[in-house]
Symmetry: C2
Subunit: 471 residues, 2 copies
Amino acid sequence: MLNSALIHQLRAIVGDRYFRDDKEALIAHSYDGTPMLQALPDGVVYPENTGQVAEIMKLLAACKVPLVSRGSGSNLCGGTVPVEGGVVMVMHRMNRILEIDQENLTAVVQPGVITAEFIEHIESFGLFYPPDPGSMRISTIGGNIAECSGGLRGLKYGTTKDYVIGLEAVLANGVIIRTGGKLMKDVAGYDLTKLLIGSEGTLAIITEATLKLVPPPKSKKTMLAMYRDLYGAARTVSRIIESRIIPATLEFMDNPTIRVVDDFAKLGLPLDMEAILLIEQDGDPETVERDIERIRQICELEQADRVEVAATREEAEKLLTARRSAFTALARLRPTTILEDATVPRSKIADMVLRINEIARKHNVTIATFGHAGDGNLHPTATTDARDHEEIERVERAFEDIFEAAIELGGTITGEHGVGLVKAPYLEWKVGTAGIELMKGIKRAFDPDNLLNPGKMFAKETRKRVVIDHG
Amino acid sequence: MLNSALIHQLRAIVGDRYFRDDKEALIAHSYDGTPMLQALPDGVVYPENTGQVAEIMKLLAACKVPLVSRGSGSNLCGGTVPVEGGVVMVMHRMNRILEIDQENLTAVVQPGVITAEFIEHIESFGLFYPPDPGSMRISTIGGNIAECSGGLRGLKYGTTKDYVIGLEAVLANGVIIRTGGKLMKDVAGYDLTKLLIGSEGTLAIITEATLKLVPPPKSKKTMLAMYRDLYGAARTVSRIIESRIIPATLEFMDNPTIRVVDDFAKLGLPLDMEAILLIEQDGDPETVERDIERIRQICELEQADRVEVAATREEAEKLLTARRSAFTALARLRPTTILEDATVPRSKIADMVLRINEIARKHNVTIATFGHAGDGNLHPTATTDARDHEEIERVERAFEDIFEAAIELGGTITGEHGVGLVKAPYLEWKVGTAGIELMKGIKRAFDPDNLLNPGKMFAKETRKRVVIDHG
C-alpha cells in the first residue's frame, strides 16, 4: 500500500489522470504475456517525459518503494509482473519518434514507440531496422531493449543489442544518465549501453534510445523445405552455413507444430513430415537468386521431400504464414500455452529437438517445437491447462530437463526472452555462482536499495540440477 | 618490490624461466605503444594456461599485489603501463588457436594469438574475421578484446565487440568464469561478455575467447577520390551513406597527411588537395560494381578533382598504401608522434577537421589528421618532441581542446584506442559524474581491492573543462 502523501506527490508530478490505484488499473498491470503469473501493484503511473520519470524515482527512492517499468508487457519471462508490489510505470505516453537522421542513419525514439510502427515509419524513409520479435505489433522498443529481443531476421542481422548505440536512462536514485550517442564507435569506459540492453528493467529506466538503421535489402526470396528425416533438416541448416551463406531467415517447425499449424491455417502442409524449414534470403537480386538456388540444391542433397520457392510476394506471404501462425495455432489447442526459449549452438539443433521429444515423453506432456534454427534458438512450446496442477508440475519438470539439456549441449536457458521471474532459478546453471555474484554486484552498483524490478533475474534459491535419465 | 617468498611461489607456478625480475625484463615491460609513458613493474610473469593464471591471481590477491595483463602492448592509451608497479602478466605463451568450428562459424582462441596470424589462418579455411586494427601484425586478439579494437573495415563490419561471443576469464580473486558461448543469442543475465570487451584489463584477465566468423566477401574494389574542398570530401561521405551504400572502408586523409605520405611512399599524390578519400567496397561482384560506380558519381557530383578506381589488385594495393603508411610517414617527421582518437557522428567530420586545424593553429602545434571517415573516427596526429617540455605542454592543451570539440559535436574522447592512462582525466566529460560512479561500482564488483590494472580508466582528478576560444 502506498501512503496517501506519496500518492499525492505522484499525482502532483504526472497529473491526476496519470496516476491510478483503482482496482481495474491494478489488475490490468498485475500480469504480462507470461502464463500463470500475477501480482498486484500498489499503483500505476504514466509519465510523459524523462523529467517526470526522474522526479518519480527520486520520490520512490526516498520512500524505498519498488518500481517496475514496462511497455506493453508482452514479455514471456514474467519480466514485468510486480512481484514485490510497489508502482508500475507504463511508458506508453513516451511514444514519440524524436528524430530520423538520414546522414548518420540513426533514429532517436522514446521507449513507448510500438516496434512495428517504428519499423513501418522508417521503411517509409527507405531505411531498415531488423529486430522483429514475434510480438512486434504490440511490443515497444523500450521493452525490446529491456529484453534484448530477437526475431526472425536475427540470423543475418543480429538482435536488438546490435542496433542500440545510445541510451538515456533514469537511475534508481532519479539521476539521468546518457550513454553512447550517434557514434559507430565509442570505447570511453565500460560499455553501459550494452549492459543496459537486456537488463530487464533491473538497472535503470530507459527513457530514450538512439538506434542504428541500415540500408534495406533490395530484394527477397522465400522458400519452404519439408523433410521426413529430422536430421536431414538439421544437416541442411549446418550445410547452408558451412557453404558460407547466411540467410536472412532460417526457421524450423517440427511435426507436432506442422499438424497444428495446418489445422489452423489450412495451408495444405504434408502432415507426415518430421520437419519444415522456412528459408528467406535478401540482398541484391543476383545474390538472392544465387543463394536460393544453392540452398535449394542443399535441401535436395539432404533428401528434402518437397522444396517450394515462392514465385511471388503473395506466395511468399503464404509460406511465411505457416511459421508466423505457429504460436497462435498452438495456443488454440488447450487453455494454457507455455513458450520456452532454450538455445544451443546451431550444430546441435537436431540433438536438442530429439532431447525435447524424449523429455516430453518422459513427463507425459505435449510439447511442439519451432524456432530460429539458424540461431539454434528453439521455442519448445507446451500446451497444457493451468488449472491442472499435477500436469503443470510435469510441464515444469519437463522444462527443467530441457534447460539442463540445452546447457549440456553448450547452450543457454534463454536466447531472446530473458530471465525475469521464470528462469531466475536456473540462471546459475548457465553463468555459475561467480557469474551470479558479479551480476549482483553490478545490480548493487546501479540500484543499491533493490528498487528497480525487484525479484527478477536473481532467484532466492537456485534450482538443484538433477541428472537427466536418458534411459 | 615483491618479497622473496612471493617470487618463490610465482616461480613454482610457472617455472623459473617464466618469472623474471631482471632489469632487462622490467624495462622491456615498463612502456607500451604510447609515447612518453613509463613505469617499472616489480616482476614479469608468462603463464602457460588458465590454471596458472588463476593460481597467480590467488597468490597476488592474498598479498594485494597489482597485476597488469598484456599482449604485445601496442595500445596507444598507456593501457599496459604498470603505473602502480606490481606484476606484468604477458599472455604470449597462451597463443594457440584451439578450434575452428565450420558448422557454427566460430573459432576458439587463446588471448596471445597475433591478430594478423589468426586472420590468415581462418582465411585459409575460406572464412573471415573483420576486425583489422592498424597494429594487427603485432597486436594480440586478447589485446584487441581489452581495447575493443576497430580498424579499416569497421564501417561495414563493426569492431571487436561484434565478433566476441564468449569468454573465459580469471577474476582478481583467481576464480575462473565463462561467459556466452558458441551461441548467436544468449540473454541469460547481464551481458558480461560485452562488458569485458573494452574493459582494458581492469575487470578480469581474458584467458580464452570464442569468436564469431563470417563468410568472406567474394570480391572487392578500391578507389581514391581527391578534393580541393574539405567539405566536398565530407559531403561525399554523408552522400554515400545517405544513398544507402555502406562501403567496407571509407578513409580520410587531410592535406598535411597527404604531403607527408607522398614524401614517404612516393605515390605521386597531388599535394594541393585538401582531402583524399580511400573507398573500398566488397561483396558479390555485381553489387561491388554497382556501388563503386554510384560512389564514383557521388564523388564527381561533390567536385572531386580526381577519382581513381583500381583496375587490378596491385593498383588497389598501391592506393591502400597511401592510407596504411600515414602513421609511419608521420612518425618519421619528428622524434615523438602522438596519435589521438576523437570520434564524432559521421555528419560532423568536416566540422571536426576544421576545429582540429583551428586548435592546432591556436596552440602553434603541427597536427595532421587521417582516419575512418565513415565511422567519424578521426586520428589527429601531432608530430612533436618529447624533450621539448614547452611544446609538449602546448600539444597536450591542443588535444584537450580537441576532446572538448569532439564532445561538443556529439562525439566521444575515444573511438577505438581506449581510455587507459592518457584519457582517464577526460572520461567524465563524456560519461558524466553518474557514469563514472556506475563504472567505479562495476569495477568494485569485479575487483574490490583494485588489483587489476590499477590507475587506468579512472583518474584521480578529472580535468577541468575550459571554454574553447573559437575567435
